[in-house]
């Protein structure tokens, strides 16, 4: 298992010369990443949100490392910048360093892709990535927890409405209504929420 090891030297601002570009649509997430990188001693961090700006920014800013969310479809545009190297004198070169499989795996599981400019030494890339990966993991976890909570809340509302429909239509108690939903779901090999949703939709259509 990969673990975060921050060398205390990095906090002393010795790495401020690295030019880091972060591609991130979500502002809150972008702020988190910048904060983490700044804490780590890298102050030269640029953030862009839109893909349309990507090619121009890469050319103008000449970044050493580009960090981008794995889920971002604009990755393919970066891929292109690195593949047509003769057209742009010195573009991005590779996804992390594919020879460092542990690092690549860690980045992938954190949901992060990094493009590293050719010639940059591995030991200089590593701490930046370690910091970014750690923060990415945290942000991603928070995001997925938030999504799960929202979904659960929405499901709860639907199930409550379905229960209400059953209570009124069949004159049964709340517990009986829930048990009925659950039994139907089990009999049909479906989820309770799916049965509830079908019931609510059907009721709306019949109104």
């Amino acid at each position: 298992m990969w673990s975060l090891r921050l060398n205390p030297d990095y906090r002393m601002g010795v790495h401020t010369d690295l030019n880091i570009l972060v591609v991130e649509l979500d502002q809150a997430k972008a702020r988190e990443i910048i904060a983490a990188l700044t804490d780590g001693g890298w102050n030269n961090v640029t953030v862009i949100a839109a893909a349309s700006a990507l090619e121009r920014t890469v050319t103008q800013q000449d970044p050493d490392i580009i960090l981008i969310d794995l889920a971002n479809p604009d990755r393919d545009t970066l891929e292109h910048l690195s593949s047509v190297s003769n057209a742009h004198k010195r573009p991005v070169a590779m996804f992390v360093d594919h020879t460092d499989e542990a690092m690549t795996q860690a980045a992938i599981s954190a949901g992060l892709s990094a493009y590293v400019v050719n010639g940059l030494q591995k030991d200089r890339i590593k701490p930046v990535l370690e910091t970014a990966i750690a923060r990415f993991k945290m942000v991603t976890k928070m995001q997925s927890e938030l999504d799960a909570a929202k979904q659960a809340l929405a499901d709860r509302k639907t199930i409550d409405r379905a229960k209400g429909l059953l209570i009124r239509a069949r004159d049964i108690s709340e517990d009986e209504a829930y048990n009925l939903l659950r039994k139907t779901a089990m009999d049909q090999g479906r989820k309770v929420i799916d049965v509830a949703l079908a019931l609510v939709t059907a009721a709306e259509l019949l109104q």
Binding site: A51, N72, H80, H98, I108, Y115
Partner: protein
Amino acid sequence: MRLTQVQCGYLPLVDCAPLIIAKELKFAAQEGLDLTLVKQPSWSALRDMLALGHIDFAHMLAPMPVAMSLGLGAMPSRIDALMVLSINGTVTGVSAELDQKMRACGWVNQFNTPRETSKALFAAAPQVLRIGVPFPFSMHRMLLETWLSQDPEFSPDRIKIVTIPPAKMAEAVKNGALDMFCVGEPWGTVAVQQSGATLVLPGASIWEFAPEKVLGARHNWAEQNPKQCHAMIRAIYKATNWLERPENTALAVEILARSQHLDLPDHAIDPALSRQIVTKSGEPPKQVDQFLSFHKSAANFPWRSQASWISDRLAKWHGLERDAARITARASFRSDIYREALSPLGVDMPKTSEKVEGTMAAPTMVASTLGEMILGPDRFFNGAVFDSGMSRAPKW
């Protein structure tokens, strides 16, 4: 029977239909596979997930396994193409503004006239034509260059190829970032509906039999897991056979639209599967029989000559030695595994795994194990013939 779990990555495009049908109509389960389809946000992400072993199989652009095996791109890795998933299916379109200028030059959009269309393009286009493709290692880019480079007005500095994710192509055309694009369905249709773009040429008009997507797997994994590979090939073969039958098209559209895998409405899926393409908003659709196919003419066979054709383009772009690249490329198109998987089903197999590409003007009988194989048409628009020189003289 206990099912073996396998994961297959894909991009939400109409041509991932064989995978969705294999899963939803239980062809995969019949072969003993519990198939999970894993949606990917980009080709780069899909490639990384496959190379690092997070997924077992992947729906890939045909040039991707070759490029990766040749060490090109950000994640070099030995990747094999186990079968071809679809033939053709790309479409080229232009912005409303460029369409208007081309018409002013006297061009009429017949949707099957590559020469006239490129002539009008270069006559009407700005000095540099900005063209969007979904990935640098794509059949889209190869077909575009095959086509445009034949025009007398062509020079490399007249075009600029830009990579834009398929779902953003329509927007890029609308906001003026692109003059032209080549993309897979439904995104051509979406560009017509949302950006007033005009579709000018299906990929099939450039090459009648271009391998578009393939089933990729890691070379070492495939060697170690022949059972899973064979089962997957058989399941998809059955799915493409089902998909290709005209009577199943309507149901296929319904299944694709309803499944959670695509998240696309039926009107976005229908044109490609019914091969009825609306080229301009408000106009009646045009029938393009070769627009996209999944099964007929031994479509699923991974021809080593297809790999050679792809590798020659890559070698030219990246300055690789042509013959050495061909050897690596040919080895990555696994006609051997394909044969092993399907021979037990009594599927007709060609006698050779190479063919001379571009020679068949009409469906043609070729030498095969059952003597029933009909291939073609497979011409290039300019009559080019691609002979990798590695095939023994074909007998047809």
